[in-house]
């Protein structure tokens, strides 16, 4: 089985260890990992802010970059959602390769969905040990309708003690440019989230989206919390830094 990693802009530049964890994990599962050259970003930041023509330009490039890929694996719910749910209509409206975008959408998977749906993974062979809680990223949960896969995978790790986070399905306050357009509101939403995270007594806060991890990790770091933000891939690969 071949899988092409769509690294996403945030993971590439800010969280490269997440990409490494994905590679380690997929190889351990017997997947041949490819990394098509010339990747930048899926265009979601432009799309959500209303710059659709520009987003369509970026989307066209992404379609081109992943042309030959068998499966595309994305360690981010929002970017996977963008490719799967928005690319085709966006490119249709702006005269891009819409038909090709549709086939790309069908081959593109958010990481936890790829692991459970395509690989059928249940038990996870990971040396990770710890008490973790899980935050549902909005786009993975409501955009792609996925609440089960990440929890199932976490429970499939022998050393993981998963505690449910009250209000796990509530937004962390990131929302892309929202986090800097209305920083005070964004932070107030974040504070509410982190108070609940800390109350679980978990050592690690797991999510499947670099945006949420940047927001929640930034808040945890600022309050010098003992809770570590981790991407799902880092728990499953077990090589968390």
């Amino acid at each position: 089985m071949r899988a092409s990693l769509m690294i996403t802009c945030l993971a590439d530049v800010l969280f490269p260890e997440v990409g490494e964890a994905v590679v380690v994990l997929l190889r351990r599962l017997g997947v041949t990992v490819e990394f098509p050259e010339g990747q930048t970003c899926c265009g979601l930041p432009l799309f959500n802010s209303g710059f659709h023509r520009a987003a369509a330009g970026v989307a066209s490039r992404t379609v081109e970059v992943f042309r030959g890929a068998e499966h595309i694996v994305v360690p981010s719910g929002s970017c996977a959602w963008m490719v799967r749910k928005e690319y085709a209509s966006l490119l249709e409206h702006h005269g891009g390769p819409a038909a090709e975008a549709r086939t790309l959408a069908a081959r593109t998977f958010e990481l936890s969905q790829f692991l459970t749906q395509v690989l059928g993974l249940r038990e996870v062979d990971s040396p990770f040990r710890g008490r973790v809680t899980y935050h549902d990223s909005c786009h993975l949960l409501r955009g792609l309708g996925e609440a089960r896969a990440p929890r199932q995978l976490l429970q499939g790790v022998g050393g993981v003690d998963l505690v449910e986070l009250p209000g796990a399905d509530e937004c962390c306050g990131f929302g892309g440019s929202f986090s800097v357009r209305l920083p005070d509101v964004s932070t107030a939403i974040l504070e509410r989230k982190l108070a609940r995270v800390e109350a679980t007594g978990a050592d690690c806060l797991v999510a499947c989206d670099s945006g949420c991890l940047m927001q929640m990790g930034g808040g945890l770091s600022r309050r010098r919390s003992r809770v570590r933000p981790l991407h799902l891939a880092q728990v499953l690969a077990g090589g968390a830094p």
């Binding site: 990747q39 209303g50 909005c138 409501r142 920083p183 974040l190 930034g218 808040g219």
Partner: protein, 473 residues
């Protein structure tokens, strides 16, 4: 359309500043947090106990879609049936016309006092202010609206207008306005309001209501309430005027039942509200009660223009308020910060509908697009999609600030060129150097400060994943 909205001094301050003030108001924070959490739980339980709920929501959405296709036909049928029962129908293209129709009725019939049941349509056209100006005393009789009227404020929630007030604040307000010391006990306060309002029901010449629905093939106006005041407003005064947005019409009683089954569950978690009032015109010969005259004002005010517009789905809205309760932004800042009649995620869309897209150039961004609103909407309105569409329009029509368009234009060029992207990473790595402490960016200068004032930021990695791939391959 420029009708409605809040006092000008509220609109004068930018949205972000109003939001900041709301965040710093401990009473607002306490009241909002308690009330929205309660509403969310009640709604969740109501639908958990109601397996047919999902299918009924789909059905309700389909009815709304189909009704809008032939809105004119249904409105004419509604008008015919209301008139057949002796009611009068008035058509208002604008909010100003709707207001003038009510004022003219007051003038012609010597109305001095009007009791009102809760109506967002009347808020939309600032009817109370217009009545006062014309020498007619409007008296709100819904408890929440009564509180707001005494406080000289506007509703901050579609179904719970005084949601932003704690019971302590209400006790203080009542004590001051009604001239007696009252304790912060909801039962005591309600009893006082009830006593005051009883007298008004009997004094008033006119009862003014909105309409949750109007059934076309029977000519029935439907009011969904919880306090019983709606019944007195529609039956005690000699004139009843109902002001409704034209999108509230439903074809038949069978359709109505579908909506009733999901409306209260979405709003308050009730199976049905305490009172579902069905009004069919004035008192008829031989009947013992009811008004002598019934008037129905059918108000467009920007709605019909959206039947084929980008905000079409906003016309499905039942005004249940569920999207406000779950919205992370609304839950932090409350309704007044939005600065318009309709707050919350749906309020942004309704404001754009009533006042034009430029009116929401800031509000269109007052959402993290988390999708919680769409998830709870009884008719599954795709609110996030329409917010993004509004943002798209602001960019295309060059309403978005120049600096923003320039910044996103630069970002687009960067994202279309791997070489530029790599260059930007290198520049970031160098410029961040003086600001990295303990492996994090804690204090960046402007514009990074917008983030780092409250949150840390991970530094640009010494080696990006793209650079590390060579070693992994």
């Amino acid at each position: 359309m420029t009708d409605g909205g809040s006092a000008p001094d509220v609109l004068a301050t930018p949205f972000a500043e109003r939001a900041r003030r709301a965040l710093g108001d401990p009473f607002l924070q306490e009241a909002l947090s308690i009330a929205t959490t309660k509403f969310i739980g009640l709604r969740r339980e109501a639908f958990a106990d109601f397996p047919a709920g999902d299918a009924l929501r789909d059905r309700a959405r389909a009815i709304k879609e189909a009704t809008l296709q032939k809105l004119d036909t249904y409105l004419e049928a509604l008008a015919d049936n209301v008139e057949r029962r002796g009611g009068h129908v008035h058509w208002a293209t604008t909010g100003a016309e709707a207001r003038e129709i009510v004022l003219r009725l007051c003038r012609d019939r010597g109305v001095r006092m009007a009791v009102k049941s809760k109506s967002m349509a009347s808020e939309e056209i600032d009817l109370n202010e217009a009545l006062e100006h014309a020498g007619v005393a409007p008296v709100e009789t819904d408890l929440g609206e009564y509180i707001i009227q005494l406080a000289r404020e506007k509703p901050s929630h579609i179904i719970a207008p005084a949601i932003h007030k704690t019971k302590g604040q209400v006790a203080e307000l009542f004590s001051r306005e009604l001239g007696q010391a009252l304790e912060a006990d909801p039962e005591v306060l309600t009893a006082v309001a009830r006593r005051v309002l009883r007298a008004r029901f009997l004094e008033a010449d006119m009862g003014i209501t909105g309409a949750n629905f109007a059934v076309a093939d029977t000519g029935t106006v439907v009011l969904v309430t919880n306090e019983g005041n709606g019944r007195m407003v529609t039956s005690l005064p000699r004139i009843h005027v109902a002001v409704m947005g034209i999108e509230k019409v439903v074809p038949s009683m069978t359709d109505l039942i579908v909506f009733l089954a999901i409306l209260a569950r979405s709003a308050t978690g009730q199976k049905l509200s305490s009172y579902t009032t069905l009004v069919r015109g004035p008192r008829r010969p031989g009947e013992l009660e009811g008004p002598e005259e019934f008037h129905l004002v059918l108000m467009d005010n920007g709605r019909s223009a959206q039947i084929a517009g980008k905000l079409r789905e906003a016309l499905y809205c039942l005004r249940c308020g569920a999207c406000l309760n779950v919205c992370p932004v609304y839950r932090q800042i409350g309704g007044h910060a939005y600065g318009h009649t309709y707050p919350g995620p749906i309020g942004i869309l309704l404001t754009a509908m009533l006042k034009g897209e430029r009116a929401v150039k800031h509000l269109a961004h007052a959402s993290s697009l988390c999708g919680a609103c769409q998830e709870v909407c009884p008719v599954r309105i795709d609110i996030p999609r329409m917010l993004v569409d509004l943002r798209e329009g602001l960019d295309r029509d060059r309403v978005a600030p120049w600096a923003e368009r320039a910044a996103f234009g630069a970002l687009a060029r960067l994202l279309c060129s791997p070489a530029l992207f790599r260059l930007a990473v290198r520049v970031g790595r160098i410029t961040q150097r003086p600001f990295v402490r303990d492996g994090r960016l804690g204090r960046l200068p402007v514009p990074g400060a917008v983030w780092t004032r409250t949150r840390d930021l991970p530094p640009v990695a010494a080696r990006t994943f793209t650079e590390r791939w060579k070693d992994l391959a």
